[in-house]
Assembly symmetry: C2
Homo-oligomer: 158 residues x 2
């Protein structure tokens, strides 16, 4: 099987805890913590943890999901669902539902981000314009007007 050959190079590697930690910008403590929460189950060489390529993939998922604000418990479920290939139809339906809900949540979250980005860009534009006025008019009325302008926008589309 040529398949096996293609795997052997990169997928046979193992990683130490601090190696993975550095790679993902987290602490070893975090990795042990995730393990304690049953999100990882690295092999052991005596006492020391040995992370497989597959473990690494799981960490990738964990880190990604975390950045998206998912609580560890939820991430764990997702991980479990990937891991549990021996599901029955009922379970799979539930899984499907969960995934669909996640999609919905992410989509609405993405919308929130779009909105926030618009707001921030408006603020940036305002600040840039304001800073572009060469002479520091240092005026009080000016800043008040500016504040009102921004506030007004907030109020309008709130």
């Amino acid at each position: 099987m040529p398949d096996t050959a293609s795997l052997s190079i990169s997928e046979s590697r193992t990683y130490s805890i601090s190696e993975l930690a550095r790679e993902f910008g987290i602490t070893p403590r975090a990795l042990r913590f995730y393990e304690d929460k049953d999100m990882l189950h690295p092999a052991r060489d005596g006492m020391t943890r040995v992370y497989s390529h597959r473990d690494r993939a799981r960490v990738t998922i964990i880190v990604r999901m975390k950045r998206l604000g998912l609580p560890l418990a939820d991430i764990r479920e997702i991980l479990d669902l990937y891991g549990l290939g021996d599901n029955e139809r009922a379970q799979k339906r539930k899984t499907l539902e969960k995934f669909r809900n996640q999609v919905r949540e992410f989509e609405s979250q993405r919308e929130d981000i779009e909105v926030a980005l618009v707001e921030l860009r408006k603020g940036i534009e305002w600040l840039e314009d304001d800073l572009a006025k060469i002479g520091p008019s240092d005026d009080h009325a000016d800043s008040v007007a500016a504040y009102d302008a921004v506030a007004r926008k907030q109020l309008d589309d709130a």
Copy 2:
């Protein structure tokens, strides 16, 4: 000034704490908490809080930012920045930097979401296909193969 007239209708209203709480789907406790954290400064009628339209706008921002996972401290800063119209140029530059950083963060967060959505949709597709196989082959080899397929994808683009 006709401007004043356009404001008087909707902007002169005030809100009670529970009114605002209901509107934003949060508890009065939360609003008091935000005030304790100096994110809101509603007027008082005796002891009871009276929220202006402008206060309401601030709550809007708080809620939005919270949904995006920003810690209250950060939200407070943003709020302060809006409120401080009497900034010096130096301050404004710092503000500008903060805003730009936020934009960058949101953008990368949005990308994370896109990625996660792709993953989830792949998972959904897989589950749907799997459930579509009319006969519950109930096979063990099947599920193992399915697991490997998914795992492989994870590993590939990790």
